[in-house]
Amino acid sequence: MARGRIRAKLRKSHLYSFCLFRSSGSGGQSIGGPGFSRTVYCNEPQVLNQKPYRSNIISTTKYNFFSFLPKALYEQFHRVANLYFLGCAIASLTPLSPFSPVSMIAPLAFVVGLSMAKEGLEDWRRFMQDREVNSRKVHVHNEEGGFGKKTWEDVRVGDVVKVEKDQFFPADLLLLSSNYEDGICYVETMNLDGETNLKAKKALEATLGLDEDDNFNNFKGIIKCEDPNPSLYTFVGNLEYEGKVYAIDPTQILLRDSKLRNTEFVYGVVIFTGHDSKVMQNSTRSPSKRSRVEKKMDYIIYVLFSVLLVISLISSFGFAVEIKYSMPVWWFMRPQDADEYYSPKKPVISGLSHMVTALMLYGYLIPISLYVSIEVVKVLQATFINQDIQMYDEDTGIPAQARTSNLNEELGQVDTILSDKTGTLTCNQMDFLKCSIAGIPYGVSPSEVELAAAQQMANDQEDQGELKTLVASKKEKAHKSPIKGFNFEDNRLMNGNWLKEPTAARIMLFCQILAVCHTAIPELNEETGNYTYEAESPDEGSFLVAARELGFEFFQRTQSSVFVREKYTASGKPIEREYKILNVLEFTSKRKRMTVIVRDGEGQILLLCKGADSIIFDRLSKDGKLYLEDTTRHLNDYGEAGLRTLALAYRKLEESEYTAWNNEFQKAKTSIGADRDAMLENAADMMERDLFLVGATAVEDKLQKGVPQCIDKLAQAGLKLWVLTGDKMETAINIGFACSLLRQGMKQICITESGSEDKQEVKEDILKQITNGLEMIKQENDPHAAFALIIDGKTLAYALEDDMKLKFLGLAVECASVICCRVSPKQKALVTRLVKQGTGKTTLAIGDGANDVGMIQEADIGVGISGVEGMQAVMASDFSVSQFRFLERLLVVHGHWCYKRIAQMICYFFYKNIAFGLTLFYFEAFTGFSGQSVYDDWYMLLFNVVLTSLPVMSLGVFEQDVSSEVCLEFPAVYQQGPRNLFFDWYRILGWMGNGLLCSLIIFFINIIILYDQAFRAEGQTADLAVLGTTMFTCTVWSLNCQIALTMSHFTWIQHVTIWGSIAAWYIFLLIYGALSPRISGDAYQILVEALAPAPIYWQTTLLATIACTLPYMAHIAYQRCFEPEDHHIIQEIKYYRKDVEDQHMWTRERSKARQKTKIGFTARVDAKIRQVRAKLNKKQ
């Protein structure tokens, strides 16, 4: 990044010497005491050996080689279902088992083994990631006196390391020196706190001399400091160096995971390593999240467990009765030789032990393979998400990533999105777009909002003929700004044309303010010959670029002067002007303005000021209000267009006036004491008065690509969007306008704190505001009215208290958009929790910085924006995308699909296991409740593993009710998820009922058909094996046909799995029948010899299959024809290709499928249309 540029030779620190580096004043009082016991011998690793601190190896893995087995097993058997199956597997080794042990143990081993393998694989990935970090290289001072490369894991406490530009710090370091003489270095702490601006660190004066490799040979020192702790912003310790003790404060500490920027190299001593470092102490393991569907699935499992218990009880009771009364007369069973289990003398014991048998026998009601199938399916779904080319960002080369596969279906049920602003909705890049100078607006390029609105209106022109002309004027050709930070277009100002304007003097002044009133540093880009600017805020950068483009190029800064080159002058020759800087009154959030006092070339002292319009307007002199009215109007327009505005003003100062003030100011500056800040502020305030308003700027906080469109689509899909930002209220509101969360005509409910000292009073005031807001909403008659709630952080702190939060939430959910500004990371998490718990709906949090981590972890789904450098948010997230706009596809397409897939899959799973498991129970009643299974052990083993698992998995992975394009065109289809149409109890019980019906049909058809008569022309009667096999065939056919009916999307994969499963059953029978009868028993050659030649077998299969699927088919046919759901209609339209033939109807359906929205530009355009219509009506 830095190549091709020459840094202005300058001791950067001097720029900041006005106010940076206020000493923190924390003394080393408690050093050596408890909590402050750490002693670091600098550059003496051998001393360190006596006092071992943790090494710099980090490990984020859950298991190690030895603990994997016990720990992972424990995790697995934590699940109730698995524990139950474990119990069954153990019981299967006793004679109580109705099955052979292998048929119980094998599936369990498979399921547990697979889950463990997955765990292991994930842990392996973490291990590899750790290893990558641990094996990064850094220069470490070695005993030979030079600096050699060492891996991070070998870095020890006390080592002296040299970190170069753009490298990460390997551990927490004490800064000794940098390439700058004064020991300054700049670090980027993106990974720690999400802030993108650079922070300056400064070494102790005493160690400044240590700025070359050779100086360290004799360097010795002892650092005594606090013990490892997670506080990022404090540090207490001291350095004993050359016989003196120096206090160390946080400005000397370089934290691990932050990055060295704009500094060639630094030297530092390692203080905290590995897990002792502050960032590692801060890391919390992200909480494991489970989706709603899965939680509900647990309830279904409980229901099935109850059913299982009930039928087991019935069965045991029946068994006990049979044992007591029938067993004695069943001579063929030799009751006199019976063991306890069958002994008629002890029916209670028999009944109890039969309970165990029954619990195992009917275990098929609880689908053992469900968990593992879901796990596999979700991993595959996640792979599809990762592979989706339409969520792949070509600019950065980063695809979307499902970092956990647990929450795929939750994506389809999101109700509220909580979004960060900077870096998420916006790129954190400002473009200078418009300005108003001396009451005249300049700048013709439209903002994105205007563009998008124009486009949308053009799309809808069909219906709104009268709006067409309105749009046409605004319609804009594709426009791309080649200059970063500058999107201004107006021939009146560009290329020096401003000289011809009547207000040229004012324009020049305006540009001077832009070019001089700042704290930025210019950098020459050698390739282009242009200057770029390193500014504190992107706003400032864009002003400088604008000034440059308008002909006022700021090209040099010295410690006391700013140099500006004026390209266009009356004489036609460029002039370089020097402005001597006398004072800088910095921008703070409280002052909301920035002022510089300069002396220009002619010796004139000027005060140049830029600031928030409200602040500046209060400080104008009488004649300074010349352009006030016009400017105010323009500012309102800019605000509506979603732009950030600042007002510019100036004042000429007399020499004497300045000197008097400066004395006052210097006095305040040098004073010591608590009221220093207040004094400084007063002094500044005195000067910043009687200003003359020059104009205003409008900067576009550049939204990320496609954000307004995405928000619009999400709104159409019925999602609510809350913006939680650390920005100030004005900015947040601007962005609200920019991305159509707010619009003119929307009623804004601003809740602010009164500023009173009394806490109680403040609270009451806020409560009153909330109540008023609610009243206002209640009394609103206009159905189109929309409300926006805007609240700032301080107020939010009160509103989130227990006694108020529900009321606040009540108001918030009534509002179409909610914007919370100036919120701390913790408040973001609290708001998220409030929404999650208060509404009980699914929340999704999206953000990019470390300040969003809390929110991301708290929300049901956390989405991180990857691509920018900080990875903290991504690491904490469940999904990561590189652009906000991909959220649309992630939710509306993948979320919708995954939700439906998983819901249908689970329903089907229960259906199939009920249909199968219950036949066992019915048959039991015909065997004197003895626990004899009608099916061969092998059939049962294969049932869940091979014969019915693949089709349902293909349903779970590949099913698409409608194609992705349709999902995007009909966002309303998404609402099926949040309304949980596919996994409500009605549907679940419906499927269970279907399973019950199916089991009854299969069982009774079979036992009545294969009753006592011959089932073949050759006179043989049906035995247990024949009945079991036929019944099983019917089951395999019915279940697979049922899933074919459930699916609506058949690729070859579905065909292969469904029909392949059925074929597999016959193939298995053939193979099993061909094995020696020692293994196959009664199933020996059963298909070839007994069943296949019997027409009755095939006929029964056909009959049972059709009879089982007939009710379901009638149901879905009825539903589709007479109570169709959204996707049914769309499918039909697509099927008949009506979208191609009847464009009009297609469009109509599409607009019908939108949710009624109050936010997004669809809503905005609608509002505009209503407005225009109202006007037209009035005219008529």
Partner: protein, 318 residues
């Protein structure tokens, strides 16, 4: 070369389509037209099939004679159990079966037991397939509990099933002449060939204090003991028929068949019925109307549904 590259490209495209979840797919939609057509089709298929099946079932002639009570002499009927357990009383008994419809050979002879839990878990498990195949060479008879050995010597065939072998016998006489009953090939061929050893002879069978059912001729290998083989195919339901033999002569209407039977088997203690069944068979097997009825029912339901959907569709056109 070119074809290779093309194939490679085709494979790549297919993979791309797969990862993008846009493989070519068939998306059938159950439109009203299809629904009606499918229901009609099922009706049209199932009703004739049902009728044919019913016809086949009706062609089968079946004579059932319950003999368990009538074969106990009047005085013993109060205590049938002690009658059947008393070896000194001769158990022979004669029954008359009147043929009400022409029966074409082969006529299958079944014995039918009711309320006999051959499918009880304790009973079903009590056998050793390995021993049946390998005889005494196979020593592990623990599966055969509680009939695994006697006098410390293994029993072949072991287990409850073999021990409780059915041992009533039947002789058929028509118009004074004995009807030839073919008792060969009544068991599955695979059972005879591969499941019951050709060199395995009954050993130590029914030698204990408790005698269950029939005895076996120790001279005949298990593979030829077809009664045993049939018996060892445990039935699925507590009421079952097992094949006894075949009469290979036609029986005319009004023929009277005299059955001389030995009523040896004890079903009295648990109140089980014993029946003798003579039945012809059709291509579908024995007499069972249910399949036909069920097919007709499903067919009719389909047709009805088709009609309902037509009506609904006409009335509430979307």
């Amino acid at each position: 070369m070119d074809t290779d590259r093309e194939r490679h490209r085709a494979r790549e495209t297919a993979f791309y389509l797969f990862t993008q979840q846009s493989l070519p797919a068939c998306k059938p939609v159950l439109t009203p037209g299809w629904v009606i057509a499918i229901f009609l089709f099922m009706g049209v298929i199932f009703i004739p099939v049902g009728l044919v099946t019913l016809r086949a079932s009706h062609c089968v002639v079946e004579i059932v004679d319950r003999y368990d009570i009538d074969c106990v002499p009047e005085p013993s009927r109060m205590d049938k159990v002690s009658y059947i357990q008393d070896d000194s009383i001769p158990k022979n008994c004669s029954r008359f079966m009147k043929v009400h419809k022409y029966m074409k050979a082969p006529i299958y002879i079944y014995y039918q037991l009711d309320n006999y839990y051959q499918n009880h878990r304790r009973y079903v498990k009590s056998r050793s397939d390995k021993q049946l195949l390998d005889g005494q060479k196979y020593h592990d008879t623990s599966y055969c509990q509680p009939v695994e050995s006697n006098n410390n010597r293994p029993i072949v065939p072991c287990g409850l099933i073999a021990w409780s072998l059915f041992n009533d016998t039947f002789e058929f006489i028509r118009e004074g002449a004995e009807l030839k009953v073919n008792r060969k090939n009544i068991a599955w061929k695979s059972d005879r060939g591969h499941k019951f050893g050709k060199n395995v002879y009954p050993f130590n069978f029914q030698n204990g204090t408790l005698i269950g059912g029939g005895k076996l001729n120790p001279e005949i290998p298990l593979s030829d003991q077809e009664d045993l083989i049939v018996w060892m195919r445990t039935s699925a339901l507590p009421s079952f028929r097992k094949l006894y033999g075949r009469i290979e002569e036609d029986l005319d209407v009004d023929d009277v068949v005299v059955v001389n039977l030995m009523n040896n088997y004890n079903t009295y203690s648990f109140g089980g019925k014993k029946k003798l069944v003579l039945s012809t068979s059709s291509w579908l097997g024995g007499k069972n109307d249910f399949l036909g009825h069920a097919c007709v029912f499903v067919g009719c339901s389909s047709l009805t549904l088709a009609i309902i959907f037509v009506l609904l569709h006409v009335k509430y056109r979307r």
